[in-house]
């Protein structure tokens, strides 16, 4: 029985509301489990983006993080001072530079992820098999929703 496409819009609206609240609430809890309070959210986010996308110029990184270039200049400077990223010359354009996480930067990101995963994994142990199965399927669907 595939009634979902025929259901009144109200049903999806209620699901949207429930889902939004539970997702936002869990996200707040996960956010609170940050590793290193010495690095700000913006600094960690910029470093994580470099780790995901590979080397970027400051301008590209600013665009990705939706901040203005001067703001990224400061974020990059602080990460560089902490030796969490490295700058290398752009191969063809001497105005530009390429940024990448250093070994220490990668280690910090890995530790950050590890701690958050550990917090969540610990709570997953309180769930039964059926609930875990639901989450396994839901993770993929949530990912698609976010990317849409």
């Amino acid at each position: 029985m595939t009634y979902a496409n025929d259901m009144p819009l109200a049903a999806d609206t209620a699901l949207a509301s429930d889902l939004r609240m539970s997702v936002m609430r869990l996200a707040r809890r996960l956010r609170a489990e940050r590793t290193d309070s010495s690095m700000s959210i913006s600094q960690l986010a910029a470093l994580a983006t470099l780790d995901r996308h590979g080397p970027l110029t400051p301008g590209e990184l600013a665009a990705h993080e939706r901040v203005q270039p001067p703001s990224m200049t400061r974020i990059v400077a602080s990460l560089e001072a902490a030796e969490l990223l490295t700058r290398t010359d752009h191969p063809t354009d001497r105005r530009q530079v390429l940024l990448a996480p250093s070994r220490a930067g990668k280690d910090l990101l890995r530790e950050d992820r590890r701690r958050r995963d550990a917090w969540l994994a610990k709570r997953l142990r309180d769930l039964d098999a059926a609930e875990l199965a639901v989450l396994r399927e839901a993770a993929a669907v949530l990912e698609r929703l976010a990317g849409a």
Copy 2:
């Protein structure tokens, strides 16, 4: 077959990682759908807490929002200036005051939720019946995880 409780811990760690990433990513998208850019995140969050928990004193509200009392003084002052909340005298202690959202404040919160729900509901229409069923069950599980 209920193998989940017997599975090696690594399996839950992988699920934790996948789930964390998808939840955080969706939360970012939902956050970006804010209604009213004239009110900051902190202001909106404080107002929403008053709406959920009923009248609170400034001190209680500061504790809920994890900010210091002087910071809450400023947030409350701005909400009051915008006529989004009201202050009433505490019934027994003249040092304290009770804060509650005004009618306009409730309307603003409702509009904010409506817009976010609409964004998500629109995307839910792209899913099939099985995926919607998974999300219906997952919403409850996620809620429990967040509250744990």
